[in-house]
Amino acid sequence: MSAQGDWEHRLGHFGRYGGRFVPEALIAALDQLDEAYRKASGDPAFTEEFGRLLREYANCPSPLYLAERLSARAGARILLKREDLNHTGAHKVRNVLGQALLTKRMGKPRIIAETGAGQHGVASATAAALFDLECVVYMGEEDTRRQALNVTRMELLGARVISVTTGSRTLKDAINEALRDWVTNVDTTHYLLGTAAGPHPFPTMVRQFVSGIGVEARQQCLAAIGGLPDAVCACVGGGSNAIGAFHAFIPDPGVRLFGFEAGGEGVETGRHAASITGGAVGVLHGARTYLLQDADGQTIESHSISAGLDYPAVGPEHALLNDQGRAAYEPVTDAEAMEAFGLLCRTEGIIPAIESSHAVAGALRIVPRLAEELGREPTIVICLSGRGDKDVDTAGRYFGMLS
């Protein structure tokens, strides 16, 4: 391991970002988790079991699909990493299976999770059923309305969904409630955090569990086109699908990495969730990173049509990749994302998650830039992080098909 890697592993920092800004009462649990995670990652039995579950249960590796009609429209060769075809409909299942296996290893009978869109909640409820764990999911009241179908899915799977009515009643407040639960029940409970954010070891561990996205895509791309893509694009909420897609490509200097944040109604309106583009460095939910905050350090509520991106901070590794210039982060508005959503539906017969539609919209935006730079048609891998079944209601209303 490199010196940088060692340092990151020991202290859980990504440059100045990351760390552990949590109550002392949680440090022992984070240490226990870190130890369990490190032991497991060096244990072939764990790797094998995780691999088997991904293959046989979650339907991974997900295909890398050459989207010909979209490519023709975009003027680029576009490859979709089809995480929407995973069991439970998104990349989230990878992280959840990894952490649920660890929960078993730590001997804890209960998991708690936060959820925005409901995707992580559904994935957690699924793993809880599979591993016979008690499961409580915290979900902002606002999101239980936006994603009512997913609430029912979680309940069908045997989880208890607690509607959070504090603060802005969205994902960040669900995380606050989950942290309060965890600090109270830490002996019996694992907090199954749903993204590559939070205190160490979560950003590193979650990245590891979802890194199959990029590892697979890299191999699949080499096999399909005999080379690497010019760019990898992903949407960025907390940052898990993006870091999972990016990580295997970080050592490849020819592969540009683009993260698309939720621009909401436009960064200039203040109603957005673009923490890197429109935020400032601070501390939220256990890590130092970029976040939306006012002059007093109070978190500013985020806004996005997509519940899964409606989060006012971002995982710390993205903060570092941004500062290093290794990845570029840009906002995509609600309107741009919905246009891309419609386009993918009609050109490819794929209804994407609105989260993932941000990546599609961003990719379409950068095509001319890349083409000019490269002097040829670019090849772009887009992480299609999830499917849009959960978003049919929102999209139907947006396009005026439902009222």
């Binding site: 760390g19 552990r20 800004f21 949590v22 109550p23 002392e24 009462a25 440090i27 022992a28 649990a29 504090t166 603060g167 960040k172 407040d173 606050n176 942290l179 309060r180 600090v183 109270t184 830490v186 002996d187 400032a280 601070g282 501390v283 939220l284 939910h285 256990g286 130092r288 905050q293 002059a295 007093d296 350090g297 109070q298 978190t299």
Partner: protein, 270 residues
Amino acid sequence: MNPLAAVRTAVAFEKARAAGRAALVGYLPAGFPTVDGATTAIRTMIDAGADIVEVGFPYSDPVMDGPVIQRATEAALAGGIHLADLMRTVEAVSTAGAPVLVMTYWNPVERYGVARFARDLANAGGAGLITPDLIPDEADEWLAASDDHELDRVFLVAPSSGQQRMAMTAQACRGFVYAASVMGVTGARATVSDAAPVLVEQVRSLCDQPVAVGLGVTNGEQAAQVAAYADGVIVGSALVRCLLDAPDLSSGLTALGALSRDLAAGVAAR
């Protein structure tokens, strides 16, 4: 450095010890029910016998707080509390006879600028800072700034901390060590934790600082139980509730005064 601070934290603990009792440490948030109302409430608490005060800065994401403190701090935020109001509150109560420590989540301090925060807090007569989500491992900048401005710095230890972390944390503290005796968020509890006496004993064996116990005390009787083994008894939610439950500020202050006197009698009756 700190001309307005009438009493330092160590002195307040020393005074209580000399009187054969534990110190009463009372928490109230700035800005609730209003900035001036909070100032009056803090003075009321000091007049009724609080030895040390913790002034909370309301924060948008208070992960350590239970429902009572959340309700009060949400109201203060809705009322438009800012860091300048916090400094003003500290200044207004710093000469009331008890050292004033600010209790705040870390991001507001970092946003304000750690050195600037320390300077302004010291200038306002504040005695120091209690940081519930900052562990010494991440606190280099604050350790330096608190030294520069001679401010106390109070970190928390928990029952789960383990010998090594507890020693490291206690050594980083100045003023006192905050023993969070219950695994959980703030809130009044019917019974006092069994873990607390053990925790206090552990911390005592690792340093020679006063140890104050927090989380859960509601009345004088419980305060006396805690005072039997701790140097300080920290009370938050029960005091805040006096103001939350009252129909108006003056009846809230009456209830707050009565509870503070009860608690003060409790810490002296060990």
